[in-house]
Amino acid sequence: MKKIYYFSITFLLLIISCKKENLPIDEYELSIPKGFPKPTIPDNNKPSADRIELGRRLFFDPILSRDSSISCASCHHIDKKFTDGLPISRGIENRLGIRNAPSLLNVAYQPSMFWDGGVPNLEQQILAPIESHFEMDFNLPDVVTRLNNIEEYKTLSQKAYNQLPSIFSVTRAIACFERTLFSGTSKYDDYIYNNNKSALTASEINGMNIFLGEDGECFHCHGTYLFTDNSFKNNGIYLNYNDSGRARITQLTSDVGKFKVPSLRNVAMTAPYMHDGSFATLEEVVEHYNSGGKAHPNKSGLLLPLNLTTQEKTDLVNFLKALTDEK
């Protein structure tokens, strides 16, 4: 009897999944976390099962790099919440990049890409790691040539975008896949969105109050369901920045040392921290903010010495750890 039960469940699941495959493009439903709004998605790249599948395959395929040695997933590991655990990412031939790999979770909500916001959307972002000499050191036209020699990619691209593999279909598909990467199942979410008051410990709740209150002031930049306002801030980690950050794009001295405020979701699993991975632990990060940071002329006015007690710092770190996804 039990066997039949499991069989029916499997059968039902199959029917459901089949249905999803056949849904017209504008009806495909992303699995958006509870309490999150619908992300804005470009009209020419609405999600479909085929598009996401093509993007998923490309994301994990080292065919995108010149010597076929690294894929997107090499710097955006699933088991490290789509980061790589390194201070600065490594490209082909172990070449040293320039910055720390950011997580891709909730990337659908980001209004600009990279630590300096140099590119406006995911579709165009994909060009950069492929072309960078420090990363994949390759180019899109040659990627497309390679893909057109593989029957599976030809079929999938036709199904997904009604064309053979092209710069358009490759960049769109990877973006489409990346927009399915959500994060919103932490203990904090259970506490807030499911109203489960026992989800957080007393220490975590105390940490949350420091985070969201005037004792920590963290929420000004790391607010909302995303734990970032996606602005560019100088957080005073240096007096002299080797990497000019946002100024690399805007050419403004007033933007020197400003970097995009990162989300803090899963932050306990995405060490090391900052644009250059210069802080190894959350304790070091909290200590930095407690100190108020170095007196760079562009340093955000929100950074002031906090004078937190040892217990308060521990509580704050415990709260940050409660932002890790449970699923």
Binding site: V119, L127, S132, L140, I167, R248, Q251
Partner: protein, 246 residues
């Protein structure tokens, strides 16, 4: 009433057809305007594997490409005829570029932009079909990390010792950003487009003039940003003087 309208219609049809009949052989009101585009190094066409000299420093070119766009023809009455959406990616090894059809007539001259207007410059390059000069090229001529095109891209080697017989060290000039586009003005260079014959304008850009005030020993790399920006500004400011008509 019915009769009257029928007569009127018939008359109109008759007039229309007879008018056509009376006309002589049709004259073209438009003709193709082509450019014969020469990328020069001094008095010679730019070529690969050739050693040149700038301010006493030997160099060669492995590639030299540049975007020109926003062509404007200045009509005899001074009004401007904008040629929309026409962008050329000039390659030093290629000479023929066509503006397509333009109205027959006398023109006072023309002008164009070396580079791209800011809207085109920041459009998504992945949306163009592969024949479009604005599509992603191999090798690339678009900055993927800040989303803008390289307007003028020249690469090769220079002699870093001033003693070797041949160039031995890489140089690269990647000039771009909205700020560094330049208008190239030939508004006082009259030409005529006559019916029945396509028009070709011969134009030259001299690389030596584009890098005239650069010392290749010290100014041999720029990507138009930060500390390397001044070299790019110097090059962009030389562009007008580097052009001439044949």
């Amino acid at each position: 009433m019915k009769k009257l309208s029928s007569i009127l219609i018939l008359a109109i049809i008759f007039l229309a057809t007879s008018c056509k009949k009376d006309e002589a052989a049709p004259k073209n009101t438009k003709q193709v305007l082509d450019f014969h585009w020469h990328s020069m190094v001094g008095s010679a066409e730019a070529a690969l594997a050739t050693t040149y000299t700038s301010n006493g420093v030997k160099f060669n070119l492995s590639s030299w490409r540049y975007y020109v766009s926003n062509f404007i023809l200045i009509k005899a009455d001074g009004s401007e005829l904008k040629i929309a959406d026409k962008v050329f990616l000039i390659n030093m090894l290629e000479h023929d570029y066509s503006l397509d059809s333009v109205p027959v007539g006398n023109y006072k001259g023309f002008k164009f932009t070396l580079g791209l207007d800011s809207i085109t410059n920041h459009k998504d390059p992945t949306l163009y079909s592969s024949e479009n000069p604005l599509a992603i090229q191999t090798p690339g001529i678009h900055w993927s990390w800040n989303s803008g095109y390289i307007f003028f891209m020249a690469e090769g080697q220079y002699d870093s010792t001033a003693t070797t017989l041949s160039p031995n060290k890489e140089f690269f000039f990647h000039v771009g950003t909205d700020e560094l586009k330049r208008t190239i003005d030939f508004s006082n260079s009259p030409f005529s487009v006559v019916s029945g014959a396509d028009k070709t304008i011969g134009i030259e850009m001299d690389f030596l003039k584009a890098i005239e005030n650069l010392d290749l020993e010290t100014e041999n790399a720029t990507h138009s940003f930060g500390a390397l920006k001044p070299t790019a500004v110097k090059i962009a400011n030389n562009w007008q003087a580097a052009f001439s008509l044949e």
